[in-house]
Symmetry: C2
Subunit: 177 residues, 2 copies
């Protein structure tokens, strides 16, 4: 199937927002999604965007059963390793189920790697859920190391409430000079 | 013990670089550190810095046995959640062993949370190694969720070689319009 991969434009945010929700439904966490397409437009298409995004698009004649031509996305941003330097982090990679098996996911992933290299990134990181064996195999086949399995690396999160508590404990900047 | 926490300045990068190496030695991966203080200066103190850093400093009379007054650091950057929006990621938090037990680690963590909140971040994330029980307890006590345990989230990495292979597979931007 013919498809193309291109940088997302502001007007793609409705499609990206729709697919973010599809992915959250698949991961059984639809209730966690608090981001609207307006927020994606604001955060991704400003002076210093908080993320970058690629989309996969099919021609009109191959549109989805619901009439969509934007059928996949990869959303990523830049991070930093104190061992290696600039890195790229793939937050989401998604292809609509009816379009899988056509190399679209591979195309999106490769493009993120290519863009990362252009920006001097030395590694590409992401996270997967352990029960998502299709995704785990997809990445493992292409050489991804599972740092949770090989190094015992665990991902931790302070949600808003506990982050607020931490912040309240911050002391004013002190000086002893 | 008296200490203060303040934003790192360019001239602190030698101290930060020294402690990055201390932390890597503790994690048994000293051979992985490829970053010099010159690179930290370039990447953290430019027009669009790739990270931000706080340091903990003690008065001259409490300097370390090797003569250091910069005794801890927290290095962090901003990321993006497609469910929640702007987030902060704590890449490293370190306090020199001889200064532990004085609230310096807690002070650094709280300050990162406070800065994150000022920047409208809704969550604070980080990773820990499973055998580092002291760190895991430190974060758990303060309300961090272990996403690897609760959700089965695994962290994956493409190192440079496999990232290069991926990038080589990226097709030129195609058009069917």
């Amino acid at each position: 199937m013919d498809f193309k991969i291109r940088p997302a434009r502001k007007e793609d945010c409705k499609d990206v927002s729709r697919m973010i929700m599809d992915l959250a439904v698949f991961e059984n966490v639809a209730d966690q999604v608090k981001i609207s397409h307006e927020e994606l437009e604001r955060d991704g298409f400003c002076q210093n965007p908080l993320f970058e995004c690629l989309i996969a698009e099919v021609p009109e004649e191959h549109k989805s059963k619901d009439g969509f031509t934007v059928v996949g996305y990869a959303l990523y941003f830049y991070t930093y390793s104190t061992w290696k330097g600039r890195s790229v982090y793939l937050e989401d990679l998604y292809v609509m189920p009816e379009f899988r098996g056509n190399g679209i996911g591979k195309g999106l992933l490769s493009k993120v790697a290519e863009i990362g290299k252009e920006k001097q990134c030395v590694r590409l990181q992401l996270s997967v859920l352990d029960w998502n064996t299709v995704a785990r195999e997809f990445y493992a086949t292409r050489g991804a190391l599972d740092l949770t399995e090989t190094e015992g690396r665990h991902l931790l999160r302070f949600e808003q409430l506990n982050m607020d508590k931490l912040a309240k404990g911050a002391s004013k900047e002190r000086s002893f000079d």
